[in-house]
């Protein structure tokens, strides 16, 4: 028994020793050159090239059997049908960093033309994506980007600027252009939330929004109960509040539930980013007039068209190249190969029943 003890000690001593030696020479973070050879970009873009038919378009989402993902790739399937291509959906059962790699390898073996991928980890998929590109496969990232040097284009569902502007626009319309508004966010350190709120503040500082007053930003931590209580607290502290803007699906649903069951119903407007299926009842009962989110089906649809444009040579992924994405119309490739879907879709009592996600 004692021996084991002594062994443990000597083992830890040895590791400490190695730590000591480790300070000398070798390849370090600072000395390492950046990542390896990126796949060659194919020649120049020919915007007038004909869209190829019979393209093999495969979608590889973060994981299968997720309702939101199903709507996304459903849009891809529609587009593949319009393009007379072969649509395929593959993916892991768990959204772990490495589980997508085997699927990419399989798609390389099957000689697909286009892979649309929502990366679980931007770097873990990189080596195999670049192998795919060397094999002539076009890579379209959507939903969550892969590292820039291992995909051709990225379909960005919305820009931070676009979301922020849209939130202020809706709040202003609902408040009638003047009055007190409050924000109900997720956690105080949520990157995307804070970025959107920054844009909102910039927008609110503009002269046309001078009569709108942001009185408070509350945090519901993306927890249903806490968001519910925060919404309650906002209305008690600010009796003249006109609009609560919640850029998180958890917050907007909780705030709507509170208002719809209180005597604030009809007096205070709720808006923000929400899921139609969660918000349907509050839109129907008049608590919520309008809210917004990007349409996931359009993301998959645009991804498939972007892939087809790449495979047909209309675009190569350079800034400024143009292509047309079926019913969504013309698009231009932005900086770093980003293609922005456009402003978020607004949901109202008129159109909410057309969406199921």
């Amino acid at each position: 028994m004692l021996r084991t003890h002594r062994r443990l000690l000597s083992a830890s001593a040895a590791s400490l020793l190695v730590l000591g030696i480790a300070a000398c020479g070798g390849t370090t973070k600072d000395s390492a050159s950046d990542s390896g050879p990126a796949a060659a970009q194919s020649g120049a873009a020919d915007p007038n090239a004909k869209l190829k038919e019979g393209l093999k378009i495969a979608f590889l989402p973060k994981q299968l059997n997720n309702p939101y993902t199903d709507v996304e790739v459903g849009g891809g399937k529609v587009a593949a049908g319009e393009l007379k291509g072969e649509y395929k959906l593959v993916g892991p059962n768990d959204a772990s960093a490495s589980s997508q790699v085997s699927y990419i390898n399989t798609l390389i073996q099957q000689q697909q033309d286009v892979i649309g991928i929502a990366a679980n980890d931007p770097n873990a998929v990189c080596p195999s994506l670049n192998q795919a590109r060397q094999a002539g496969i076009k890579i379209v990232a959507f939903d969550s980007d892969a590292s820039k040097d291992c995909r051709d284009v990225f379909i960005n569902q919305a820009t931070t600027q676009g979301i922020g502007e849209s939130l202020v626009k809706m709040a202003s319309e609902l408040a009638g252009g003047e009055g007190e508004i409050a924000i109900l966010s997720a956690t105080p350190n949520a990157t995307n939330q804070n970025a959107w709120i920054e844009v909102m503040k910039t927008e609110l500082a503009k002269p046309e929004n001078s009569k709108l007053k942001l009185v408070k930003t509350a945090y519901g931590n993306d927890d249903d109960q806490k968001s519910f209580q925060e919404a309650q607290g906002l209305l008690q502290s600010y009796p003249n509040l006109k609009v609560i803007v919640s850029p998180t699906t958890v917050g907007i649903a909780a705030a709507s539930r509170y208002v719809s069951s209180s005597n604030y119903k009809g007096k205070v407007a709720i808006t923000g980013l929400g899921l139609p299926n969660q918000m349907r009842e509050y839109v129907k009962d008049g608590t919520v007039k309008k809210f917004a989110l990007w349409n996931p089906a359009d993301i998959g649809y645009l991804a498939a068209y972007a892939g087809a444009a790449l495979a047909s040579g209309q675009i190569t992924g350079k800034e400024g190249e143009k292509f047309t994405a079926g019913k969504l119309g013309p698009y231009t490739v932005g900086a770093a190969g980003e293609i922005v879907l456009g402003p978020p879709t607004e949901f109202t009592a008129e159109n909410i029943d057309q969406f199921n996600f």
């Binding site: 021996r3 083992a11 390849t27 390492a32 390898n105 080596p127």
Partner: protein
């Protein structure tokens, strides 16, 4: 005893034969399975399971288990990412990660042999503990900017041909472990411990010490695989390798190693690993869904436990009948 050996040899042979059959059928019947590129993908896919299965076989043969291997892998990966961010050189990080794995294994070994706790309970505990530590070390982010000459080596092939670089490592380790298990007194002593630890102890085998070092080796190999995993996916993450321990135990059992210890062979285990990986690879090329893959794997495992047992019971029934007949005559 010889009866046991024969039955066991039988299962090993069956699993090896089955693996060869699957490889041949897949090469002939599944488009793109037999290509050299797919061979590289297959080797890279089975690398972590195969390497971790080598020491796991030793441990299960002695009647113990180590379920903390995947968490050790994840912690080694986290340490690798953290040290890389601290500006250490990769040449010194790699040995540190392997030693860290060995130290984690030593803790398992100490708890099992020094304190005499059941290894199942201990390593389920350290499975959670090490994964938690991995999150403490690296948080939920990822470190990715490892040097290309290392990441490229792990995913690359010898001279750009069809033999993956990591195959050298796999073969070397498999040969070492195979020789130790099947051609040395130490290897034989493992079977003795697994068959009856007390008897082994009284016949002069240092049971506790042996088991302790098996855990150290298991941890060190898990640390090494953590490094390889990180370089292969060029991503150091705290959740790397999550769930791998069950895939490893599954492959070891499929290879004919008894969970109660004392039985099994390394060639059988290697066949088990290759069989599962080849099936997954081939079915995926045929666009079989992930759920169906799980069903196939699960069914195979149940069968691998069931069939030898059925065979034994049939054999014993026959023997009883023969004895009865002999008695009535």
């Amino acid at each position: 005893m010889s009866e046991l050996k024969r039955k066991l040899a039988g299962w090993d042979t069956i699993i090896i034969a089955l693996t060869v059959v699957v490889l041949v059928i897949a090469s002939l019947g599944v488009p793109n399975f037999g290509t050299s590129r797919n061979f590289t993908f297959l080797v890279l896919d089975l690398m972590p399971i195969l390497l971790v299965a080598l020491p796991m076989t030793f441990i299960i043969v002695t009647g113990e288990i180590d379920l903390s291997v995947a968490s050790t892998l994840g912690l080694a990966s986290s340490i690798m990412g953290w040290l890389w961010n601290q500006g250490l050189s990769i040449e010194s990080i790699i040995p540190i990660c392997i030693i860290a794995g060995a130290v984690l294994g030593a803790l398992n070994g100490f708890l099992v042999t020094g304190l005499g706790l059941p290894s199942l309970a201990v390593t389920i505990g350290t499975l959670a503990l090490y994964r938690g530590l991995a999150l403490v070390v690296l948080g939920d982010g990822a470190v990715a900017d490892f040097p290309f000459n290392y990441t490229g080596w792990v995913t690359g092939t010898i001279g750009g041909g069809s033999i993956p670089n990591v195959l050298i490592l796999i073969v070397a380790l498999a040969v070492i472990f195979g020789v130790v298990l099947h051609a040395t007194p130490f290897g034989r002593s493992l079977y003795a411990i697994g068959a009856n630890a007390e008897a082994a102890h009284f016949s002069g085998i240092r049971v506790a010490r042996t088991k302790f070092w098996l855990y150290v080796v298991s941890g060190a190999v898990a640390g090494l695989v953590g490094v390889l995993w990180t370089l292969r996916y060029s991503s150091a993450r705290a959740d790397n390798g999550a769930g791998l321990e069950l895939a490893v135990v599954a492959a070891v059992l499929l290879g004919g190693v008894s969970i109660f210890g004392g039985k099994g062979s390394l060639p059988g285990v290697l066949a088990g690993v290759v069989l599962l990986a080849a099936l997954q690879n081939a079915l995926r090329l045929q666009d079989v869904s992930g759920q169906a893959l799980n069903i196939v794997t699960g069914a195979l495992l149940v069968l691998s436990v069931l069939l030898p047992n059925i065979a034994t019971s049939i054999r014993s029934t026959w023997q009883r009948r023969r004895l009865r007949r002999a008695a009535t005559v």
